[in-house]
Symmetry: C5
Subunit: 320 residues, 5 copies
């Protein structure tokens, strides 16, 4: 599915003819061609009309690249990733961009919500593009990069919520969640690290970006990518700590359980011994125990004293 | 709220006219305009009168940037963070600075205590500025950077106090505090790392700073930022260790609890067995137990011996 | 065992004469000589006919090098590793490549499945080589690098499977598997790190690779190596986390066991005390217990109440 | 307190006049002025006579700098730290050095034992200075750097002693000591890291050091600083491991305690059951137990058998 | 003890005269002077005849340097370490090398087995030196570097053996061994890291090495040093993991012990309660128990049922 945008808004048709015509006029009106779920015809357009290198076509077909930018004499070929929430998982959307002097071609397999929103915004108010071909390219790249922020914010919140959860409950379930978050954050860190390098190179080498003096704008985008990378790096640090906290909390809890057990045993084992003692079949002992009230009072008294002594020790150790 | 400072102290008014007049005279008298909680009129002043790039205005409006410095032909735009204690939490205050050849404009949303104090100090003794426009800029930047030191010192103290706390008590509460400190320190390390890079660039590239040979002074500020970064890096290291110490202390304590339980069980389980033994209904045994004194002495004696043996083992293991 | 390939497909013979003839014609038809399990005659061919440096011959004989590239005036000598699954273990296959202006000589001791497959593909469709001598070299290197991807994918899957395994069962067996995976991943990271450096140098310095403008293709290979390195780096991170999760799960389980023990002891120790109490030989107590029904009801009642109290506490602590 | 040294030994007086005179002659006889606990007069000497920058004076007054070197046109200003043992703690002594073409001024607040020793050595044998002004500077810096070695050696020994301590006893006290050592080592690493950078810059930029071809000597000092840094880095690594070993030892010990408890419980709980069984008031059972010898033998026999079975299992598990 | 080697084999005498004569002829026949356990005469030879800088002599005397290379106008002075097994410990042998244009002087305090073997090999077959003065230097350096490989291989094996040991037994002894290995590996990593830097500098700067085009050979040596460093780095990683595995195994074992205890307690505490119940002195209960067979069957039956229920739960939890 193709969408064709120029500085004057969305074009009606995006057939091969329309595209070639726009391309001829790109130095004035600019050209952004967005291709979703490219088919054979689209690939032939890229290869025949635009004469892009076959390696770039292969990259689009194989997907699963890493963020990168390849410089060709006539254009730059960039792979940019955008993170998004897919249910409870972080998914990574791959976008392939051909950045030419006056045009931009973006290719992606899944539908891209942020790009679709940008298209309708440009359609409604074409003055967003400032009438400059290069500004559309900036808008697209800026949109793709900023679309990762909400994911980071939700991750940040989730980690914040976890903190309270762990120190209070430390259920196996929260351990599981820490581990899955760690997994997502590790992956995210990998692609944001590569993306940061891409933007550093785009800004210093990417000649086609810097026409019409767009450097200031891309510097801004670069700052955003660096901020994303630093955030995800901190999250990784915090998740590692969270796992340590979890382990400590479990150990603490184990200690609580053991204190309970020890208290129970300390209270009742001596008492059992005493009842056992008074239950022995010694004639002498039995003889003594015949004298009713006093003996019984002594018996119950020793038990109470044993209990008192235990309770005193528990208090001294701060268990009760 | 605007405050206007020149090398001769605070100006009475900070209306648009007064500012334009001061600006015209800035190469001699310097100009520091401090804007707190900027409103629409202030933004228009920045955009129209000073002709600052719209991207910088957007940065001020969106806040939540990272420390950075952007170079523009006529001025540098810097974002500097200052840490401060907000109750029990570390808060980060964002300051946006326009550094021009003879002027400085500082913008911040919340009230900034260190800047206000600096203003009153300059008002009282304008000779602080040495009559040089560039020196005001240095004073502002130096003040903002040094305002983070007290936070680091309090963090350092808190970590020192924790040390004793953990090895003595290891309460879940101290675990919680370690984790929150780690959180603050992680965030602080992130912004101080970026700030360090900002100052390195300010010093090597920031042409507008180096008029009137201020290099020596900014080198000093840079040293302070590096020291802050190194301190926070050490704190992070120590907090990681603190968590390990906590876990070890909890395990140690668990071992203590277990030793108590084992001691109780070792003392009373054999005794209970003996009382049970002497309580059996064997006619033979009961017959033997009829002979009063000696049998009873043997019975109590075996119990005492069992207790002695246990106490001997406890001592050998160093438990008592 | 020698195999001789040119841009027009596989050569019939690979005797010394055939090779010399091909070499003379290499600037047109290219030349790829693959030597498996080299013997004395092969080494003499390398040393006498091709005049390769004796240090490179020694490297092939000693094996056990690290990925590297040595530049000689007439050729580059590269050592490239390829990972493969050998039963349940990751094995590393060493390949030695002489990269000349128009020829490539690959030497390896064990049979190399990916190279054999490439040979038969070229034989079937020689147009794969695009008729360019340099393109064969690219195909060989690309094949060797990409042959490591399936190993990484299987490792990735194994780690994913482990995750569920640990948090559910945490058997000593899964600990063992984590450790062995860590071992493989550590080794793999070491060789991929070196390989990444090799390719960076091959691309920037390796003059014999860049004839016929192959730079674009090698950039693609380099990207793959970097992706492999980043993947193995993430895996290492995840395995470290997995070990922490394992430990936490074991501690959790220990806590479960302890809760069971505490519950059992808390239920039956008080009951045992009560039965002991009612079994004491006090005449008074025995007298009281003579009144049949009510006394028995009181006795069983106290036991039931003791049990109720325990169950109430268990529920409050969330154990049942 | 001032001390004045020249290549011909210690000067009698160190009044302002004597210093100015020496300074005039410094290109021949050199000049080392050591100021301990500087007072107002000393600061005025530095500012008026030597005309040092006011920022450097402030640094001396505020202390608490980090190791650094600032280049001024006429001199270098260096802050160098020296570690020393203060009771059981590592203390860091701050030295401020002005390094001029022919003179050196060292300022420190606390008395400095290594510098005092150097002074008396020079006084006794002035030929140590080789009659070169620049050589005194080298001697001072070398002395300050090497004074940190004994501290590192004692730390190294302490860590070595800890090793045996932990795996044998693992007392909470040794945990405490690990943590405090970690603290010292972390701080030391921070200042040695900065010191390393200082010396790298001193050697490559520090023009006033390199007169009279002293480069070779300072390279030697640099090597010492790097060795100190590497040592403290290793110590940090080992202390982290020590904490892990501690935790493992405690867990091991806990397991020992648990085995004891389990053994006691396994031995006596079955025996208690048996004594309880033979103590039941069943008429049938009581009837059987009337037959004296055999029944009693059976009773004691079952108890012995139960004990044997337990002991057999303990041996199989390797507990006894 | 001196040994004198030239390209034509070992010289008979190594007196001062013989050395001076050889030195005069070194540009043709080369010269390797090996000094073991240098005495005053040897130091005077180095200082007077060869005119080496006094700092290098001091370094030899003080020993305990780190791997380094110092460039002097006429020669390079290198300190190279070689690891060797000393009983069960890794020892580090220090070698000091003076590398001149045509000569090499190696100094070491302890006897050096690898150098002695090299000497006898050169004596037997002088063609090893290829008749080039520079080749002897290469042979010596190559020998010293490669002598560390066997130590690394034994370390690697030891770590491999540990793996099985830990997951099976986890004795305190293996913890001790891990810690000692970690210590050795940490130290080794420190010196190999410095050694790597030495060789990088020797290759790029060391002019006296590169006469007669020896670059290719030293590149090979450098590759070996890098491989050694990477190996020791991996070992460090694996030992850290080993410690984690150890801790997990101990925890697992603790859980096993606890399960045993819980099983014993769960089986016998209810039984003890029942025997206690049937041993109570209630007239009613005693009356019931008079009816011989059925009551006894009920009593034993309830005990069997209690045991069955416990066994059923154990099986459900997978304990038996």
């Amino acid at each position: 599915m193709r969408t064709l945008i120029t500085t004057s808004g969305q074009a009606k048709a995006a057939g091969n003819d329309a595209i070639e015509q726009c391309l001829a006029n790109a130095h004035e009106a600019g050209l952004w061609l967005d291709i979703e779920a490219p088919d054979a015809e689209d690939f032939s357009l890229l290869e025949k009309t635009f004469r892009f290198h076959s390696l770039t076509i292969e990259d689009i077909q194989h997907q699963n690249q890493r963020p990168k930018v390849d410089e060709y004499p006539e254009y730059n070929f960039a792979v940019i990733f955008q993170a998004s929430w897919e249910g409870e998982e972080v998914a990574f959307r791959e976008h392939h961009l051909y950045v030419g002097p006056n045009y931009l071609i973006s290719v992606h397999i899944e539908p891209s919500t942020p790009l679709r929103e940008l298209q309708s915004r440009i359609e409604k108010s074409p003055e967003l593009t400032k009438g400059q071909p290069g500004f559309i390219t900036y808008l697209v790249i800026d949109t793709l990069v900023d679309a990762t922020f909400p994911v980071l914010e939700k991750l940040d919140e989730t980690v914040d919520l976890l903190e309270d959860d762990i120190t209070e409950k430390a259920s196996p379930d929260s351990l599981n969640r820490i581990y899955h978050l760690k997994h997502s954050v590790t992956e995210m860190r990998r692609f944001l690290g590569a993306q940061r390098d891409v933007f550093q190179r785009l800004i210093t080498h990417g000649i086609h970006l810097q026409q019409q003096d767009m450097t200031l704008y891309y510097r801004d985008v670069f700052d955003h990518v660096v901020r994303q990378y630093e955030t995800v790096d901190s999250l990784r640090d915090l998740l590692t700590s969270a796992m340590d906290v979890y382990l400590s909390t479990v150990s603490n809890r184990l200690n609580q359980t053991m204190k309970t057990l020890t208290a129970i045993a300390s209270l009742f084992l001596p008492l059992s011994f005493l009842t056992g003692f008074y239950g022995m079949n010694f004639a002498l002992l039995t003889g003594v125990l015949e004298t009713p009230y006093i003996a019984f009072a002594v018996g119950v008294g020793t038990m109470l004293i044993a209990t008192m002594i235990q309770l005193y020790f528990f208090r001294r150790r701060g268990w009760i």
